[in-house]
């Protein structure tokens, strides 16, 4: 009997890549896509890497494809923006070995800065999109994606969402198919996209998409399930499961390929059902097309473009009895916060004290925007801290940013921060950039990058020195500081922000959750010395609570022993004790 295994959606995508004979995989971590690479790397047959950013990852996969092997890149939705430059043109060149981009959207914004829909990018880039509904399909569609890619000479996007990526379901495992490498032949009309060649390829792209729309009517991933025809749904992905949950007897057109749409199949389905609903998360991508064909359907009139869908949403919209449940209790929110012992908290406590504004970036340190740290003023996208600070200076003058810094993590700096810093040097900015270096990609769960000295495969390699990089591009004032040395930090920040030239402060201390990074002691309050001033509570460490009498307690199961609270106490009322 074939082996069955319970698998995370992302694990199943990795398994699909393995079974499809993939040989090269490149990615940059980003929730909810990260576990794809973390599982791909377990298969020795696949070369897998963390690239510094998604554009690079996409190009690595494109190169591998041109050379004749099956290749993939994986990234979160906003990573697709970074990779869109190569993607749009790879759509024209097409492939040699199959090429799949796995794009993980995040409806409901579990861990993202926006809620964009990758299908819109795919439509603009004229690239087909497959969308699975569970872990089994995630694996199966991945394999189908490579078949499609080679048959129609196109990159294929496999779109997943947070719910699919981070849900587990049963998967039947199959053997890996060993795909022989395709021969490489020099073909500049296909692989050199200068205007003359690209014009011809654009014609091909249109033909390809039309052919796929036509052939898609017969693809097994597009499936009409006819039951009660008084009500019909066109749906795909995870929303399909909500439809099956609430309307097990309705007719459903389940589309596994959501771009290009199989027109004839949709027309036929629409003609057989009395009332047609289109149930798709985020943008009305299918709906707009279906309605443009003159088909009557109900979609975003009653279903939102925002957030994640659910079965209860369908019940409330379409069932007379609605949902039977108690009203939610009014309870205090519990937003995410920096961990106890996080070095970012220490850095932010100093910036807060000095009343310095920070142009922020993408990472755990974004949490420094909210009370009580309240340091980060802006968060846009990867790398934007440095360049947006530079823009502020150019708009308002150098004095305007004397009480500003850019705050960016080590992984984000390697991603795109380097470009912004080069710009600051080149265009004679005077900003101060704080690279909060915790030796990892923290928020996505500790992935290595070019400055950590380790690859995705676990090989030890020379770490790129951020310090030397900054020096090499001509920055004279580059200072490294221990992130927990409050006095030194304060001194350095004052000095560097006062300068009339670019300066970089690298604050160093590994992420407290990194394996092997354990402070030897724990922090313990000494109530008899406590003057109840609250200085220790100000940075908002979750291990500390205020007692009714004004003294404090430290939860020993939470305290990591970083000693920040101890440094902040002017009365010696917190001590370190061995754990």
């Amino acid at each position: 009997m074939a082996e069955k295994k319970i698998m995370l959606g992302n694990e199943a995508i990795a398994r699909g890549a393995y079974e499809a004979g993939v040989k090269v995989s490149a990615a940059y971590p980003g929730t909810p896509s990260t576990e794809i690479s973390e599982n791909v790397v377990k298969y020795e047959e696949i070369y897998a890497e963390w690239s510094p950013n998604e554009k690079v990852a996409m190009e690595v996969a494109i190169g591998a494809s041109i050379s004749g092997v099956r290749a993939m890149a994986s990234m979160k939705h906003v990573g697709v923006n970074v990779a869109s430059d190569p993607l749009y043109t790879a759509s024209y060149t097409g492939v040699n070995g199959g090429l799949v981009l796995v794009a993980a959207d995040d409806p409901g914004l579990y861990s993202s800065q926006n809620e964009q829909d990758t299908r819109c990018v795919a439509r603009a880039a004229q690239v087909p999109v497959l969308e699975p509904s569970d872990s089994q399909e995630a694996k199966d569609f991945m394999k189908f994606a490579f078949t499609l890619s080679e048959k129609y000479d196109t990159p294929v996007i496999l779109r997943t969402t947070t719910r699919l990526s981070h849900s587990q379901g049963m998967v039947t495992l199959e053997e890996r198919e060993e795909i022989p490498d395709k021969p490489y032949e020099r073909n500049i009309s296909k692989y050199v996209m200068m205007p003359g060649m690209a014009k011809a390829r654009h014609v091909y792209v249109e033909e390809r998409m039309e052919a796929m729309a036509e052939d898609g009517c017969g693809f097994p991933v597009n499936r009409a399930e006819y039951n009660d025809t008084s009500i019909g749904f066109i749906t795909s992905g995870i929303p399909y499961q909500y439809v099956k949950e609430v309307f097990p007897d309705a007719s459903v057109l389940k589309l596994g390929m959501v771009h290009p749409l199989p027109k004839k199949l949709i027309e036929e389905f629409a003609s057989k059902v009395d009332k047609l609903y289109i149930f798709e998360e985020l943008e009305p991508v299918m709906e707009e097309q279906v309605k443009a064909w003159g088909i009557r359907a109900v979609g975003k009139e009653i279903f939102t473009r925002q957030g994640e869908y659910s079965a209860n949403m369908l019940r409330r919209a379409l069932l007379p009895e609605g949902v039977e449940a108690d009203a939610p209790a009014q309870v205090p929110a519990r937003p995410p916060i920096l961990c106890p012992g996080c070095p970012h908290r220490s850095v932010f406590s100093v910036l807060n004290k000095l009343k310095i504004h920070a142009a922020g970036d993408i990472g755990c340190y974004t949490l420094g925007a909210v009370a009580p740290l309240s340091v980060i003023d802006t968060t846009i996208c990867m790398g934007a801290s440095i360049s947006s600070l530079h823009g502020m200076e150019k708009a308002k003058g150098r004095d305007y940013i004397k009480n500003w810094v850019a705050v960016i993590g080590d992984s984000t700096f390697m991603h795109t921060g380097v470009n912004s810093l080069m710009n600051m040097v080149y265009n004679q900015g005077t900003g101060t950039v704080m690279i909060v270096d915790n030796s990892t990609t923290g928020m996505t769960g500790h992935q290595d990058h070019a400055a950590t000295g380790k690859t995705l495969k676990g090989e030890v390699v020379p770490a790129i020195s951020i310090y030397k990089f900054c020096k090499a591009i001509g920055i004279e004032h580059v200072v490294e500081v221990n992130a927990f040395d409050l006095k030194e930090l304060e001194k350095v920040i004052k000095e560097e922000t006062a300068r009339d030239e670019v300066s970089v402060i690298i604050t160093k201390s590994p992420c407290v959750l990194l394996k092997g990074n354990v402070f030897p002691d724990k922090c313990v309050p000494v109530p008899e010395k406590c003057k109840k001033c609250g200085a220790c509570l100000r940075p908002g460490c979750p291990a500390l609570t205020k007692n009714e009498d004004g003294t404090i307690s430290i939860d020993e199961t939470m305290c990591n022993g970083c000693g920040l609270c101890m440094q902040l106490c002017p009365f010696g009322a917190i001590e370190k004790q061995p754990k």
């Binding site: 319970i6 929730t31 909810p32 990260t34 576990e35 579990y110 861990s111 569970d134 719910r163 981070h166 849900s167 587990q168 379901g169 049963m170 995870i238 499961q241 909500y242 099956k244 949950e245 097990p248 659910s310 079965a311 209860n312 949902v323 039977e324 449940a325 108690d326 009203a327 939610p328 209790a329 309870v331 205090p332 929110a333 519990r334 937003p335 995410p336 916060i337 920096l338 961990c339 755990c364 949490l367 909210v370 009370a371 009580p372 928020m443 996505t444 769960g445 509570l537 908002g540 979750p542 500390l544 609570t545 205020k546 939860d555 199961t557 939470m558």
Partner: protein, 189 residues
């Protein structure tokens, strides 16, 4: 069998993912169709986290919604209150009698509600345990989540032996014994 819906709620960092792995293992071993859904990423940093487990003959959606949970396992009191409306009318609520103040309470912008367990007990079937205290007695505070799971196990469809076997297969080898002990502490309540 109609699909059974379990929820595990807690605070990021409390180890909800281990508990859901054990639940996934046992339902799978028993031959059910099973789907689990969990939260990764930013919310794990001390935020409110929730894991869904659904098992039965054939499971469609991977999440549990308001009014549908058969068993709600809460690793913290406030999180029990936050998600209690996800329970069915006759659903069972297992609460670890433990308090972790959210940052909104620490900074004084919100109050931690009083008498959560007493109030929930008026409208729901509630079972409580101070699993942190029990885990410290076992010498490993991290084992508290398996103690809570042990208590919840009484309200699911598997034998004690099934559970112990799954724990053996799921947790790291070094922690098998402590986790089995922890499970039995909860199961014995």
């Amino acid at each position: 069998m109609t699909t059974k819906s379990i929820m595990i709620v807690g605070v990021g960092g409390q180890g909800t993912l281990l508990t859901s792995r054990i639940l996934g293992g046992i339902t799978n071993e028993a031959g059910y169709d099973v789907k689990l859904s969990e939260v990764h990423g930013m919310a794990q940093r001390g935020g409110s986290v929730v894991t869904f487990v659904r098992y039965g003959d054939q499971v469609a959606e991977p999440i549990v919604e308001e009014g549908q949970a058969d068993v709600l396992i809460a690793f913290e009191r406030l999180e029990a209150l936050r998600y209690a409306h996800f329970l069915k009318k006759d659903g069972v609520l297992i609460i670890n009698d433990w308090k972790i103040e959210p940052i909104t309470v620490v900074t004084g912008t919100a109050q931690y509600p009083e008498d959560i367990i007493e109030n929930l007990g008026r409208t729901h079937k509630v079972y409580t345990i101070n699993a942190m205290e029990e885990a410290m007695k076992l010498g490993n505070p991290k084992a508290f989540n398996v103690i809570v799971l042990g208590m919840a196990a009484r309200h699911m469809d598997f034998t004690k032996e099934d559970w112990l076997k799954t724990i053996e297969q799921t947790v790291p080898p070094k922690t098998i014994e402590i986790n089995k002990q922890a499970f039995l502490v909860g199961y014995g309540r």
